[in-house]
């Protein structure tokens, strides 16, 4: 570290970059050896920045919990290193890491009251009694649980337990807070409230949050950045908007939001859809000219009844589904490919959507076509 300070400008920029990193996961693999070998994490690298709300998103069994447990220190990595800032913590036991966890099942101590649960971490750190008391009161206020502080944790509701788990993990003011699907047990209404509350807490405390969910909407609405995982690998890391609008792979596109995948031919910076139409695109690294697969989000195209004009693509309407704020039109292109388009609903009396069985003209918005890696 000391030798690096003497380096020239580019190196300094690199240092500035690493100081902004809170948790550095460096080529980490985790293999569980049992009757069969499970590669739960496969060469995962990701840098989580300070004060960031970072979300791990992926289907069940993709290794989200495993990654959190490695960062928390409950399991050692089989290969690779985990650093806190620049300090390697891979071999540090969990009680020596300034990292706290909100467990999926909350894991509140059943033999202690709400206040005692929250005080536990502070007491373990050997804080003076007065300070423990003060911080516990502050935490109770933060999660709005003052009235229930003397209750047993078995005598409060699921949502309240969740808030206590949060307060307990925040009380020692860790550098990083890990949250493993903390909202999954809550009903929709409470879940929405807690999402807002979590964002508020992260903002007020300035702690780095690493949040695990398999709910894509939750990930998109709450996160500064999202990492999409599948089968022990991180496929893409980016801001919610980038992940949604510029997914790198078919899996990411499919996992987040609704997608149309269309065949096309790439040449230079433009693609020609098999069904017709040329679009300027950004070519991802490693994709060469030739046959490619492209993504068009259903709301990034529009459709009207009638024959296709210049710049439009012809199709037949297969189905029209009304769903409140939008209408989804299912179409069949001339190439035989299926496509669905989502139209925002205008007040009644406006332009009527196309009718089932009729001819339709599709217009894809410029910039709506994304080339996928696979």
């Amino acid at each position: 570290m000391t030798s690096q300070t003497a380096h020239a400008e580019p190196a300094e920029a690199a240092i500035a970059d690493t100081t902004a990193i809170a948790v550095d996961v460096d080529r980490v693999s985790k293999i569980f050896r049992g009757e069969t070998e499970v590669r739960a994490l496969d060469d995962v690298s990701v840098g989580i920045r300070k004060n960031e709300f970072f979300t791990l998103l992926g289907p069940s069994g993709c290794g989200k919990t495993t990654l959190l447990r490695l960062i928390a220190g409950f399991e050692p990595p089989t290969m690779g290193a985990i650093r806190l800032g620049t300090r390697d913590i891979s071999r540090l036991p969990p009680n020596q890491r300034p990292i706290n966890t909100v467990f999926q099942n909350y894991a509140l101590f059943p033999h202690m009251s709400v206040a005692q649960n929250i005080a536990f971490g502070l007491e373990m750190l050997g804080k003076p009694k007065a300070e423990v008391q003060r911080t516990v009161d502050e935490m109770l206020r933060l999660v709005r649980m003052e009235e229930l502080k003397n209750r047993r944790t078995s005598e409060i509701s699921g949502g309240q337990q969740q808030r206590v788990a949060l307060a307990r993990a925040l009380a020692p003011h860790p550098e990083v807070l890990l949250l493993d699907e903390p909202l999954s047990a809550l009903d929709l209404k409470l879940r929405k409230d807690m999402q807002i509350e979590l964002k508020r807490l992260q903002h007020e405390t300035g702690i780095t949050f690493i949040f695990v969910t398999h709910d894509q909407e939750e990930a998109l609405t709450m996160s500064d950045r999202v990492a999409v995982m599948s089968a022990g690998k991180i496929l893409q890391v980016g801001r919610p908007r980038d992940i949604y609008e510029r997914p790198a792979e078919r899996f990411v596109a499919n996992f987040i939001g609704e997608s149309n995948f269309l065949d096309a031919t790439l040449s230079g910076g433009t693609v020609e859809l098999a069904a017709g139409g040329r679009f300027d695109v950004r070519v991802p690294e490693g994709v060469r000219d030739g046959a490619v697969s492209v993504l068009v989000r259903p709301e990034h195209a529009s459709v009207r009844s009638g024959e296709a004009a210049e710049g439009e693509t012809g199709a037949t309407v297969e189905n029209v589904v009304y769903s409140g704020e939008a209408t989804v039109v299912h179409l069949r292109l001339a190439t035989g490919e299926a496509m669905k388009i989502r139209l925002a609903n205008a007040p009644q009396g406006g332009e009527a959507p196309p009718q089932t069985g009729g001819a339709a003209a599709i217009r894809i918005a410029p910039g709506a076509v994304t080339v996928l890696k696979d």
Binding site: A72, G73, F74, P93, P94, N95, Q96, I99, N100, T101, F103, N105, A107, L108, F109, P110, H111, M112, S113, Q116, F120, G121, M124, L125, R168, A169, P172
Partner: protein, 312 residues
């Protein structure tokens, strides 16, 4: 509730009727249990209470004459020659030995039993049954046989002495038989499963994610044990301690075989009164005293352990 105003019954009448029927049914269903409790526990106890207030018969048994002699004899003895009363300090020392040996045995079974139970409970599920089986195997053998096996281990020409002599740690055999050590050793061995099983059940129920949570909140291994694990497996430890301590107080076979004639325990003292002593009322009174002592000890124990709980 307001909808009920339309029914022809005054509010609550239906509930009350259902309740009385319910109570009646519950009483009927619990009759067998009550019968067993009366026959197996209350009846014999009553016999003991009555016998303790009667006069000893000449060849054992009792004469139906009221007497307080049985109870008096628990603490004082009538001198054979001049009829003066002297303290029955033999009884007291026997009682004290029983109490302290039982306590030591309970502590030893705790020290050995809790880690054992922990070890078994943390084995992978498939292997636990095997270890549990090993723990319970001694139950399959008669107590007397097991005790004689212990004797074989610790007597002067026994296995332990032979080994110690061979490797030269001692020059002459240790006298272990017929000592309090022998009794404590034997009882610890005999009652160990009674400690392991309830503690195992408690550890088995323990949610290990709570232990992880404790570590996550900066608890070292020892503090996590003291602050989280111990309070959560305490019910098992209490149950195990009671299961060991109570039968130890009244133990009979083990002290008889390993303690010889000199080192009596309370159970042997009672047995003596019903046998060679031919003093059934004294035996009955001593039994009741033992029962009372056990109850007092249990109440104290539960009080102390549950107060800790309330304090957090």
């Amino acid at each position: 509730m307001s909808a009920q105003a339309e029914t022809p019954f005054p509010p609550g009448a239906l509930e009350r009727e259902a309740e009385t029927a319910d109570t009646r049914r519950r009483w009927l269903l619990s009759l067998p249990a009550i019968a067993i409790i009366v026959c197996a526990a209350a009846g014999p106890l009553l016999v003991m209470v009555i016998y303790s207030f009667l006069t000893p018969g000449d060849y054992g048994n009792v004469k139906w004459e009221f007497s307080l002699e049985g109870w008096m004899n628990t603490i004082v003895q009538r001198d054979i020659f001049d009829d003066t009363l002297i303290w029955a300090d033999a009884h007291l020392s026997i009682f004290w030995r029983s109490f302290s040996l039982s306590l030591i045995t309970t502590i030893l079974t705790l020290i050995i039993g809790v880690p054992t139970a922990w070890f078994v409970a943390t084995q992978p599920p498939g292997r636990r049954e095997f270890w549990l089986f090993l723990v319970t195997v001694p139950f399959w053998t008669n107590l007397l046989v097991r005790t004689i096996a212990i004797q074989e281990l610790i007597r002067s020409e026994g296995v332990i002495n032979l080994v110690l002599l061979k490797i030269g740690i001692i020059d002459e055999p240790l006298q272990m038989m017929f000592t309090d050590f022998a009794i404590g050793f034997g009882m610890t061995y005999v009652y160990l499963p009674l400690m392991v099983l309830p503690v195992y059940a408690a550890v088995d129920k323990l949610d290990f994610r709570l232990v992880e949570a404790a570590h996550d909140l900066y608890a070292s291994r020892w503090t996590a044990f003291r602050r989280v694990i111990l309070p959560l497996i305490k019910p098992g430890i209490i149950a195990g301690s009671i299961l060991v301590f109570v039968p130890c107080l009244g133990a009979y076979v083990t002290p008889r075989v390993l303690g010889g004639g000199k080192n009596l325990m309370f159970g042997n003292l009672i047995e003596l009164q019903f046998g060679a002593g031919r003093n059934w009322p004294l035996g009955a009174a001593l039994s009741l005293m033992l029962m009372a002592a056990v109850m007092v000890a249990l109440i104290f124990y539960v009080r102390i352990t549950s107060r800790e709980k309330a304090d957090g």
